[in-house]
Subunit: 291 residues, 2 copies
Amino acid sequence: MEKIGFIGLGTMGKPMALNLLKAGYNLIVNDIHPSLLKEAIDAGAERAESAKEIAERADIIITMLPDSPDVEAVVFGINGLVEGIQKGSLFIDMSTIAPATSQKVFRAMQEKGVEALDAPVSGGEVGAQQASLSIMVGGSADAFKRALPIFQVVGKNIVHIGPEGAGQVTKACNQIVVGQTIQAVAEAMTFAKKSGVDVAKVRDALLGGFAQSRILDLHGNRILERNFEPGFRVELHRKDLNIALQTARELGLSLPVTAIVAENMNALIAMGYGQKDHSALALLSEKLADV
Amino acid sequence: MEKIGFIGLGTMGKPMALNLLKAGYNLIVNDIHPSLLKEAIDAGAERAESAKEIAERADIIITMLPDSPDVEAVVFGINGLVEGIQKGSLFIDMSTIAPATSQKVFRAMQEKGVEALDAPVSGGEVGAQQASLSIMVGGSADAFKRALPIFQVVGKNIVHIGPEGAGQVTKACNQIVVGQTIQAVAEAMTFAKKSGVDVAKVRDALLGGFAQSRILDLHGNRILERNFEPGFRVELHRKDLNIALQTARELGLSLPVTAIVAENMNALIAMGYGQKDHSALALLSEKLADV
């Protein structure tokens, strides 16, 4: 069985690494916060001192990091992956980052004779724990085939979208749709509430028609039950929309409503709700309605 | 069997009236465009010269009209319904109009000893033809019970939401969510297209996760297939969003993204797409991306 290097054992990475250990993989792990390594080491993972050491010793290297600069630091920084990576290795970045960064990393790996995949996920902490993540993959068909058994350990709905960067583009699309749909549900439910109409009945009626969505079902229910504990935090969703908006500027297109939703998330963070679930967009709508 | 008066035999009203005739109801009909009456009269409906005459002769009066001023004209105008309506009659307005107008009509009917329901529908022309409309109803439980057999002839998903106006509030919520969700899908699919990624694969991947919606499925498919024939016309959806925004101003709340989507529909109309399906919001996104 191939040896897997895993870098980034945070909220998402840790349960994913534990699932790989449970499936019998040999893991070698690293995180800039050493305290995050304990559980994985207790479960049988080996500890590496640097990304470079992981690159030297693992056949497949997975990163699960917060944002594009973190991935760049791990790949290109001092004692980074490119310093140690072996020809024939496979690099899988499962972080949600800018498509352009994924493409830059892909090219750097290609120069080293290494295949790279961008494979961001959705499904949140619960999906990571239950190994039910959706995984959107960009890269070559061969690399996808090689990675598939690993993806099947940590996820369920696994789609190879296209070449390098295509996974990140898909994830950005997902975050655009999810953010705007929550905003839509928030505006509608607040409108019903301010009108004095039974919001739960409105949601029920809407679920039976064209307005149906998983967001109206799940996040609509959160709004009814006043359950704003994450879930998926506002701060992370704002980061993902920043990636979409920055990429749109580079590509040359306008995403007017995505921009407004990102601004609404900025407002939520200003209001102290950055650590709440993104369904807290309803709290901003309610503020703007005084209900 | 009670005699039904039916006013407004346009795109929606005509198939609904024909379904009621097919179910064996006696119908007396009127429209300001006499040419629209022919089919219903050929199918056995009686013709009335005015709304007042319908009010005098029918037990239950249904209106299916384009907008609030049309309903006000039929109810309060010269030879209008209130001039002839009989105590104990039931008035059902199935038009999509402002909740405040529905409430004003309700009170006027109440003064005449007449129950009124606001019962806007969704499902479009196809839903009207196939008798599969969703019907969102506001008014008393007794009036709803009396109207239910009629609703069951023309629709399927029939929900009594609350008191007078509650049906219109629900319909406005539906149009808020549907409009914004199409906008979300349009921005995401345009982003994928401009990125050079396979848009159909992105849609497939998104349908498997939190971004799932009936809009992503059906309207997303329309966008892929470049099928912008209605369906539901941009001009009508803009009218419905105007109702939502006007009502929001009266109630005192802000619907920032609903306002942007309404403006985007204004742009579509300026571009000559007013008679296209509302999924044409993708055409505006594509214009803003030069793809």
